[in-house]
């Protein structure tokens, strides 16, 4: 018996609530998502005219996954990219690949499609060999055609018409020799960009179905607020208003035109009276509160070995506040109840889990809910994309037959999205006389990092409805991926180390997945502390890292970033910072070197040159990798320099971009250069979340170098920097 830890089981059930062990007798493991969806025709179909359709359960989030998957399929099949239609997540058409999250899309779907398309190409070639009566080895493929040495040729469409692709993929595939790749590893312009540059319909926000109505929800002003009786009559009489929807404390309005819906929503907000309670914690002391809450201690690792005598011991605590996803486009969904089926167009990251959650909310069987992914504004994790779909279905149910488009307002998005969790890391370490780390003791305290809905109880609307569904308890995500403990396991080779994750079930503030989860704080802490220990040992930060690394790919990335930056060992005081991590210690390697200035008068940090090196395994679209790492660098700079969700005891106070400032152009780095380490033939490692942690630590390390102060509490805001410098 083979015990296969099914990631699908984990993901579909909310990351760790239930660990799905799929026990399969003597069944060999197939690569990527072929494990869960083995049939070739679930991934690829070839029409008689030769046109190819490729199916993926992953979704485009602006990370360029559609383009990369097309490159993979076209490469392995020998079909022009223009001949391929790619269908992304749809509960009636595509494989269930759980969530598009955790930098897993290339590893899961990219690997599945690479192997499925390679196997289909093999079947096509075998069919042609039989038809021509020649050996497979004598045939070549190009442009959707199989050619024989004698000049005969046959198109894929003709061959496919006689082939049965409704067969399970083999565990092993004959992939092309990476040295012959023409598309994989070569930059390709993103297929989704032209519409975005010309005003083409590109987002769920741009959908206009015949007869479509516009709706807005009126959110509870604070958690648990109870809607008291009020007269909605005057609002129902407003121009264009079709209906005011009220169920318990759930309130929404639907109108003919969008502006009419917004005006009616504002009128309802003014008219509605709420009973509120002070349910939020005191912001000033929330980290101490979290640190003191009951926690479940989860051992991450214990290493024991022989080591030199410690001569210097350091101890530090690193923290981050609640942070926001802050999509530029407030979340949106369109829903329509017709012929007993609720169809939902949504920018969720997981159409299948959302289908279950919406079915729960509506008390419908899942078969009667159909979720279709349509792109939205970037989400960066579990933002309001799922919850707005909850609004759309509740409102669409009240106006059967009519499609309903709902978009959240800016203040609704800011105050109701689930935030990235506030966290605390405490670390103690020691170096010996030779400057080697001989002891490492690390603890991290965090809430869950995954409250993505897979049952109705996890939808925002649930608590407002008259008969709320049960809410599953929060659960940790087990290592090796981890939630709060993600990347708490150091990549460095220490003789003695202990890492413990303190999982806090009670959530004073609603939280869920924000890009990179716990890795952001853990890498910030580990990489800041590595610099602190290097300083204690009198070592250069880059050399100090290299001396503690055993992984050759890690060393290569560190060395490349240092070389391209022009890092000079021992040169200090010029505002230079360095940091490195391998995401989850399973994914992409990323090292960042940067320069910055600290304005002593104001405490402002001015970012200069940023140089990154990345190893994402086999490269598919190098420009896509660069774009993702650049994005991680700028987004993490914004998190690290500016961001904190503010609240009083009742309400969230960060209601818009003035109450939650993020990085603007004037503060962007002077330049960013991303250097890729090519790894032909190696597994895909993903890219989207590799840079955030290293960027945070590189900033803090450079601030120490520039201004002589060590800041351990994110954000490194100007007032904090100024206070630390003491000017």
């Amino acid at each position: 018996m083979n015990a296969v830890l099914s990631r699908r089981g984990l993901m579909a059930l909310g990351g760790g609530l239930v660990v799905g062990f799929a026990l399969r007798a003597e069944e060999p493991a197939r690569p990527g998502s072929l494990k869960e969806t083995p049939s070739l025709d679930a991934w690829i179909r070839v029409a008689p005219d030769g046109r190819v359709t490729v199916f993926t359960g992953k979704v485009e989030l602006g990370q360029g996954i559609k383009t990369a998957l097309l490159q993979v399929a076209a490469e392995q099949l020998d079909v022009p990219v223009a001949q391929i239609d790619l269908v992304t997540a749809d509960t009636m058409r595509t494989p269930n690949e759980g969530f598009t999250a955790g930098s897993h899309s290339m590893q899961d779907s990219g690997t599945a499609i690479m192997n499925a398309t390679a196997q289909v190409r093999g079947l096509l070639v075998a069919a042609a060999a039989a038809e021509f009566g020649v050996a497979v080895e004598t045939l070549t493929t190009a442009d959707s055609t199989v050619r024989a040495a004698d000049g005969r040729s046959v198109g894929y469409g003709t061959l496919a018409a006689k082939l049965n692709l409704h067969v399970d993929a083999e565990p092993a595939s004959t992939l092309k020799d990476p040295a012959t790749y023409r598309l994989m590893g070569t930059p390709m312009p993103r297929v989704d960009i032209p519409a975005k540059l010309t005003g083409g319909p590109a987002y769920v926000q741009d959908m206009r179905l015949p007869g479509m109505l516009h709706a807005r929800a009126i959110r509870q002003p604070s958690v648990g607020a109870k809607l008291l009786d009020f007269d909605a009559g005057p609002i129902e009489a407003m121009p264009g208003v079709v209906k005011v929807v009220r169920e318990g404390s759930y309130l929404a309005v639907v109108a003919g035109k969008e502006w009419q819906a917004i005006k009616a929503m504002r009128a309802l907000e003014a008219a509605a009276k709420w009973e509120e309670t002070a349910s939020l914690p005191d912001q000033a002391t929330v980290l101490d509160l979290l640190r003191g809450l009951p926690a479940r201690d989860i051992p991450v690792l214990t290493w024991k070995g022989e080591a030199g005598a410690p001569v210097k011991r350091l101890k530090a605590r690193y923290t981050r506040p609640y942070m926001m996803h802050g999509a530029i486009g407030p979340s949106c969904a369109v829903a329509q109840l017709a012929d007993g089926t609720m169809t939902v167009w949504t920018h969720t990251q997981g159409v299948y889990p959302l289908r279950s959650a919406l079915a729960g909310l509506l008390r419908l069987p899942v078969e009667q809910v159909h979720c279709i992914h349509v792109e939205g504004s970037g989400c960066y994790g579990h933002n309001a994309a799922d919850d707005v779909a909850g609004d759309a279905v509740l409102i669409a149910r009240a106006v059967p037959g009519r499609p309903v488009r709902v978009q959240w307002m800016r203040e609704q998005e800011h105050t109701n999205e689930p935030y990235g969790a506030a966290m605390i890391a405490e670390v103690e370490g020691a170096v010996d006389a030779a400057g080697n780390i001989v002891d490492w003791d690390y603890g991290v305290w965090s809430n869950t990092h995954n409250r993505r809905p897979y049952v109705g109880g996890l939808m925002l609307q649930n608590a407002a409805l008259p008969e709320p569904l049960p809410v599953p308890p929060p659960a940790p995500i087990p290592m090796p991926e981890g939630g709060g403990e993600r990347n708490s396991n150091p990549i460095y080779a220490f003789p003695n180390a202990k890492v413990v994750s303190h999982f806090i079930p009670e959530m004073p503030v609603r939280v869920s997945a924000l890009r990179s989860l716990g890795a952001y704080l853990n890498v910030f802490a580990i990489e800041s502390f590595m610099d602190e220990l290097a300083e204690g040992a009198g070592a250069d930060p880059v050399e100090f890292r290299l001396r503690h690394l055993k992984d050759e790919r890690a060393k290569a990335v560190v060395s490349l970033a240092a070389e391209k930056f022009g890092w000079v060992a021992g040169k200090r005081g010029e505002g230079r910072g360095f940091a490195f991590a391998r995401y989850k210690n399973l994914g992409a390697y990323c090292a960042i070197a940067l320069a910055l200035r600290v304005e002593h008068e104001t405490g402002h940090i001015r970012l200069g040159r940023v140089v990154a090196a990345v190893d994402s395994g086999q490269v598919v679209n190098p420009d896509g990798i660069r774009n993702q790492i650049e994005g991680a660098i700028v987004q993490a700079a914004s998190w690290t320099l500016y961001e904190t969700v503010r609240f009083d005891r009742k309400r969230v106070l960060s209601r818009d971009w003035s109450g939650y400032p993020i990085l603007r152009f004037a503060a962007a780095p002077e330049s960013i250069a991303v250097h890729i380490v090519p790894r032909p033939g190696q597994p895909f490692l993903g890219t989207g979340e590799a840079g955030q942690g290293p960027m945070a630590a590189a900033i803090a390390n450079a601030v120490r170098d520039a201004a002589g102060v060590r800041l351990r509490d994110v954000p490194l805001s100007a007032p904090k920097v100024k206070a630390a410098i003491g000017v």
Binding site: G329, N627, W657
Partner: protein, 150 residues
């Protein structure tokens, strides 16, 4: 009925006078480019050009636009800024991009040779959350004939 000129075409729309231009563009005229981002004039994703000036369409009531020329990304016809954004692959999710293109177009029409400082200051009203800033800056430099990546 409200009359307005969008991308050179005259339209009569049946909208309440206080309706912000954004909703008339999107809902009455079926144009996708201008996006709802904040409704507060803080993010720039709704930026269009009115009489040569970049304007936040989420704040401007349609009733004040009579006799004025409104331009949206749909009416640019593949200008140098759009080409430069494509060349630099200057988008991730892209929700902010139409607003960026419109603001950059307005800048280059008024100031064909902007300095790096000019570009950054001019674009600073527009927010991007994916962190595509360096590519957007490179695209505007490229459109200004200053080459792309520095």
């Amino acid at each position: 009925m409200i009359r307005l000129t969008v991308n050179g075409q005259q339209h009569e729309v049946d909208a309440e006078p206080d309706t912000p231009l954004l909703y008339v563009l999107r809902d009455d005229l079926g144009l996708n480019g201008a996006k709802f981002g904040c409704g507060l004039g803080q993010c720039g994703s709704c930026t269009v050009i009115v009489d040569g000036q970049p304007v936040l369409s989420c704040l401007m009531p349609v009733s004040v636009l009579s006799g004025r020329q409104v331009r949206t990304i749909e009416g640019l016809g593949g200008n140098a800024v759009q080409h430069a954004f494509a060349e630099e692959q200057a988008a991730q999710c892209g929700y902010c991009i139409a607003g960026m293109v419109m603001r950059a177009t307005a800048l280059l029409e008024q100031n064909p040779h902007p300095s790096e400082h000019d570009i950054r200051e001019h674009l600073s009203l527009n927010l991007c959350r994916c962190g595509t800033h360096m590519r957007i800056l490179a695209a505007v430099r490229r459109a200004a004939g200053q080459g792309g990546k520095s």
